[in-house]
């Protein structure tokens, strides 16, 4: 009987727990009673996080496609082939003909290593990861306004705030141990404002619930700012001493009277005024947001408005305040921190900056590094589909289900001369690969994850990987070595972290010895630095906070006579993304066994669709069958679908239109129609 302290592999809340194992096999999970986030509890995914690990579907040997089918191969064969074929593609089509897709599920060390492999060994900046699909708008929008695209405050600040404003986040389902903390705060007197047109659980505890139209966040937030300025509720001193460009913001929001904002959002003007007063009237107010804000073709503008709202009221840089983007994946914060991004090295250092390039080149022992930013993941899929990108190395992602417009994603992947997938199961994407490399899962390796509050925490090995599966770190380093690079040999994961610390200022003081028991929130620049739970306290990371005015753009695809309903997509509480792990966890799979579509009772009556009836959902890009769930969770005219299910895949319908700045797809709005099945 052994207990191993580690980090939950699901959401960015970053609960730690103990994996209980007996004779090399996981038999359960025990909560940590001292962890500052989980505090003796977990959500249902955490309690069941052991259950998929020994599943018989786990990949146990490398696979190579021969005569059209994937066949077992040795590591020697597979690695040799990966290196040979990658080199071949580069020779034929140039250095940037390959794309590396890293993973927010993998550790910091592995993300760092894959980005080093791409840049130092294969000399391309074509590396990105799934943050592109979730919070790239945050990284862009907050970098511009604050200088740092991360949650500004600590989760524990929830206990000491007066007002919480949740917009575009179904917190109790997607960050359950943060959502529940918000509920507790509300019971102790904190006021709650929820803006989300789904009737999520938090809405049922809210002082005010705004069900604004999909894609109308800019009008809502600008309307609130207009009221705040007009009613003299702005924090003049904060604006004067800590920010710049206020005049431009004030001018841009002036036309957004409550009436105009009401007309665009579908809300009552009085509610917009009430929301503005509630938020601005608080001594300390926190904003939480997530995909409802970011996954739009104007996602960056949404983020800019949120940043402006917080600065306008001085709700930044103090306990109980802040702009708090809830990062979805267990390590999506870390994936970004580690520079698994096409334009940035670890620590958000620009590849276009000669000094940074020289530093990394010197540290990595290579003569030079490429200077032009690489392709974002979503643009790489477009390039592949257009025949302009020829190889992809995908570590732990399943774009066939997670990317918008599945038809397009399939075409892109099938177009490739070489697709290498490194994963723990044969995902829908891996099934298309030429070479599949079996990886260890979170319970079978050492490393760190960085949670949504920037807390870098230790992931520990509890059991051995199945068969010949190896950790991502081992695999990446083996590839580097075979490609003739000798700068990637490490005794263990902690040595990789030591290297990260030397090159990444805000991880500068982080080493494994310091991370016991519950991690350190970055920035932690030096070995004696205690970490930084709250950012931007004396000054913003960029100096002065920058107000960035925006103009209103509608979602690209609007409902019309042919496609009269708005489809918005998301997740359910019981599943994680493409279901690779949760659909192989008996209890979770039983809870949500298949695809469904939430539909308002009014629409259901109009279309004479009954609860649980099978129906067809059709968009301009494709159609799928699913089951109707008639519920007032959604408003009339809007339907919701989770994207977990390969059968009834919501992303066959979604629109591959991207935010021009962050390249995030507009997962949250497209137009569909419903048809009864014959």
């Amino acid at each position: 009987m052994k207990r191993t302290l580690t980090v939950c592999p699901y959401c960015g809340t970053g609960c730690m727990f103990y994996l209980v194992s007996d004779n090399g096999r996981l038999i359960g999970v025990e909560a940590s009673s001292t962890h500052p986030v989980s505090r003796g509890g977990l959500c249902v995914k955490g309690w069941n996080a052991f259950a998929f690990v020994h599943h018989p579907d786990r990949l146990t040997t490398p696979l190579i496609r021969k005569n059209g089918t994937l066949q077992a191969a040795t590591w020697d064969e597979a690695l040799e082939l990966v290196v040979e074929r990658l080199a071949q593609v580069q020779q034929r089509h140039g250095r940037d003909a390959l794309m590396f897709a890293s993973s927010a599920k993998a550790t910091n060390e592995e993300n760092y290593l894959l980005m080093k492999l791409a840049r130092a060994v294969f000399q391309t900046n074509n590396i990105d990861h799934c943050a592109r699909l979730c919070h790239s708008s945050t990284v862009t929008g907050l970098a511009e306004t604050f200088g740092s695209g991360a949650m500004t405050n600590a989760i524990s600040c929830i206990d000491e705030t007066d007002v919480i404003f949740v917009i575009g986040s179904n917190t109790t389902e997607q960050h359950p141990l943060i959502g529940s903390r918000i509920m507790n705060a509300v019971r102790s007197g904190t006021r709650l404002l929820v803006a989300d047109n789904r009737r999520i659980r938090l809405a049922r505890h809210a002082d005010l619930h705004l069900r604004h139209r999909n894609g109308s966040d800019v009008p809502l937030l600008c309307g609130m700012m207009q009221v705040i300025i007009a009613e003299g509720l702005a924090d003049r001193e904060f604006i004067a001493t800590r920010t710049e460009n206020y005049e431009a913001l004030a001018e841009s929001v002036a036309p957004w009277t409550p009436e105009r904002s009401a007309a665009e959002t579908g809300l009552e003007a009085a509610d917009i005024i009430a929301a503005a007063r509630l938020y601005a009237g608080a001594k300390r107010a926190m904003i939480f947001y997530s995909m409802g804000i970011t996954q739009h073709s104007h996602g960056v503008d949404n983020v800019r408005c949120i940043a402006s709202l917080a600065m306008l009221t001085g709700n930044i840089g103090r306990p109980g305040t802040g702009v708090n983007p809830l990062r979805g994946q267990n390590n999506v914060q870390g994936g970004c921190d580690m520079g698994a991004l096409p334009d940035l090295y670890s620590g958000y250092q620009k590849v276009s900056e000669p000094l940074h390039r020289q530093r990394f080149a010197a540290a990595w022992g290579v003569p030079a590094l490429p200077d032009t930013p690489g392709l974002p993941l979503t643009r790489a899929m477009d390039a592949a589909s257009d025949g302009k990108l020829f190889a992809m190395f995908i570590m732990g992602e399943n774009p066939l289900l997670s990317d918008p417009d599945q038809h397009h994603a399939r075409k892109a992947l099938e177009n490739l001369e070489l697709l290498v997938v490194q994963d723990i199961f044969l995902t829908e994407t891996a099934a298309l690969a030429h070479i599949v490399l079996p990886a260890a899962c979170y319970a079978e390796k050492e490393g760190t994850f960085t949670n949504t509050e920037r807390r870098v925490q230790r992931v520990r090995k509890a059991v051995e990987p199945p068969g010949e599966a190896r950790s991502d770190q081992d695999i990446i380093c083996a590839i580097a070595q075979r490609a003739g690079y000798d700068g990637m040999t490490y005794a263990d994961a902690s040595e990789v972290m030591d290297e990260i610390a030397t090159l990444t200022p805000h991880y500068g003081g982080i080493s494994y010895e310091r991370l016991d028991p519950h991690g350190i929130p970055w920035p932690c620049p030096t070995p004696d630095h205690p970490g930084t739970p709250i950012l931007h306290q004396q000054r913003f990371t960029r100096g002065q906070g920058h107000f960035s005015p925006v103009s209103h753009r509608l979602p690209q695809e609007q409902p019309d006579a042919d496609y009269p309903l708005v489809l918005t997509t998301g997740r359910t509480y019981f599943h994680w993304h493409t279901g690779t792990m949760t659909r192989r966890t008996h209890l979770l799979d039983r809870e949500e066994p298949g695809s469904f579509l939430e539909l308002h009772p009014d629409d259901a009556t109009r279309l004479s669709i009954r609860h649980r009836e099978r129906l067809l959902v059709i968009s301009r890009r494709g159609s799928i069958q699913t089951e109707a769930r008639v519920t007032s969770m959604v408003i009339p005219g809007v339907v919701f679908m989770p994207f977990h299910f390969a059968e009834g895949a919501a992303n066959r319908l979604t629109n591959n239109v991207l935010d021009p700045e962050s390249s995030i797809p507009e997962f949250k709005v497209c137009a569909v129609r419903l048809e009864k099945l014959p």
Partner: protein, 326 residues
């Protein structure tokens, strides 16, 4: 009754490890306590009940029922050595007594008794609760009990095995020590017990309106922590893993707070809302079990209250119920 210095206790445990698979309260790396193997952390006898489900020792979260590989059926053999488990508090022992009855009733649960049969259970009590407070003695329900009095552990045997083991110990307890132990045995129900009885009476008399459960349901995020922490929760689901070589059937803790727990194949669900499920959780322990088993099946260990992220564990709900409808 015998007595042991802390050092003697450690020797006693080391001696037991030759014959038994030992499980004792230990300290894990982040300060969480659990009942585990002494190899996995230093002994941590002080601090009261461990936060995890203590009955997991006999009923783990997941266990294999059988495997059938190439048509050959096999089941896990009984452990090579019987278990010796130290660390159950008086309330934990009540819980254990209750689930012993449950698993023995009707078709005896062979998986449970594979580990339970022959196991020696040692209770823990005395001035070793949180911050040195008194953990009341169990005065039974176990093979032997260790009671901390000052610097001394008193050893009080109950079963035949307990008596045999205690016989090996050299020092008898002094009459004062024996008296201190006796005086600590509670004679009247404690506050928690009275509260649960009052809540149970309200439920049995149907005095709690549906609106109460609806409010409660709004607060349940379906984490399942209440069930997974509870020593008397015994529900499990059975699942098969199929591979090219055969089948593995296992069972895993289930939770009545989940929609799928009672959902019928038709899709109909008699417990189809959080309100109904929250009602069931409380009702089962305070109203249904008393009818079936003659006793309330919550022994007030407080684990569900500690595990629940939104504050709707048993004791919190009972207190709310009694305050509003009592």
């Amino acid at each position: 009754m015998k007595s042991l210095t802390p050092l003697q206790l450690e020797h006693f445990l080391a001696h037991l490890a030759e014959r038994y698979e030992l499980r004792v309260p230990i300290l894990l790396p982040d300060g969480t306590r659990t009942i585990g193997s002494p190899d996995d952390g230093p002994l941590a006898l002080l601090g009261g009940a461990v936060p995890g489900k203590p009955t997991a020792a006999f009923f783990p979260q997941q266990e294999t029922i059988f495997t059938a590989i190439h048509g050959r059926l096999s089941q896990a053999p009984p452990p090579p050595k019987p278990l010796f488990i130290l660390g159950f508090t008086a309330t934990d022992l009540e819980c254990l007594r209750f689930i012993d009855r449950f698993f023995a009733d009707g078709i005896r649960d062979d998986l449970y008794f594979r580990l339970r049969q022959g196991a020696v259970v040692a209770g823990i009590s005395g001035y070793c609760g949180a911050k040195g407070t008194l953990l009341p003695p169990a005065a039974g329900n176990c093979d032997l009990e260790l009671f901390l009095a000052g610097d001394t552990w008193l050893v009080i045997p109950y079963s035949g095995t307990g008596t045999e083991l205690a016989k090996e110990l050299p020092n008898a307890a002094t009459p004062e020590e024996a008296e201190l132990f006796k005086c600590s045995i509670p004679t009247v129900p404690d506050g928690g017990e009275t509260l649960l009885q009052a809540a149970s009476a309200l439920l049995c008399a149907d005095r709690v309106p549906d609106s109460f459960w609806e409010e409660l349901g709004e607060r349940c995020i379906a984490c399942t922590g209440c069930n997974l922490a509870c020593p008397t929760c015994t529900c499990f689901g059975v699942q098969d893993w199929r591979s090219s070589t055969g089948v593995e059937r296992s069972r895993t803790w289930d939770s009545c707070q989940l929609d799928g727990f009672m959902r019928e194949a038709s899709g109909h669900n008699p417990l189809g809302s959080e309100a109904l499920r929250s009602r069931r959780r409380i009702h089962h322990k305070l109203a249904a079990d008393p009818r079936k088993w003659g006793e309330i099946s919550c022994f007030r260990c407080g684990r569900c209250d500690a595990a629940c992220p939104t504050g709707i564990g048993m004791m919190a709900v009972a207190a709310d119920l009694v305050a509003r409808f009592g």
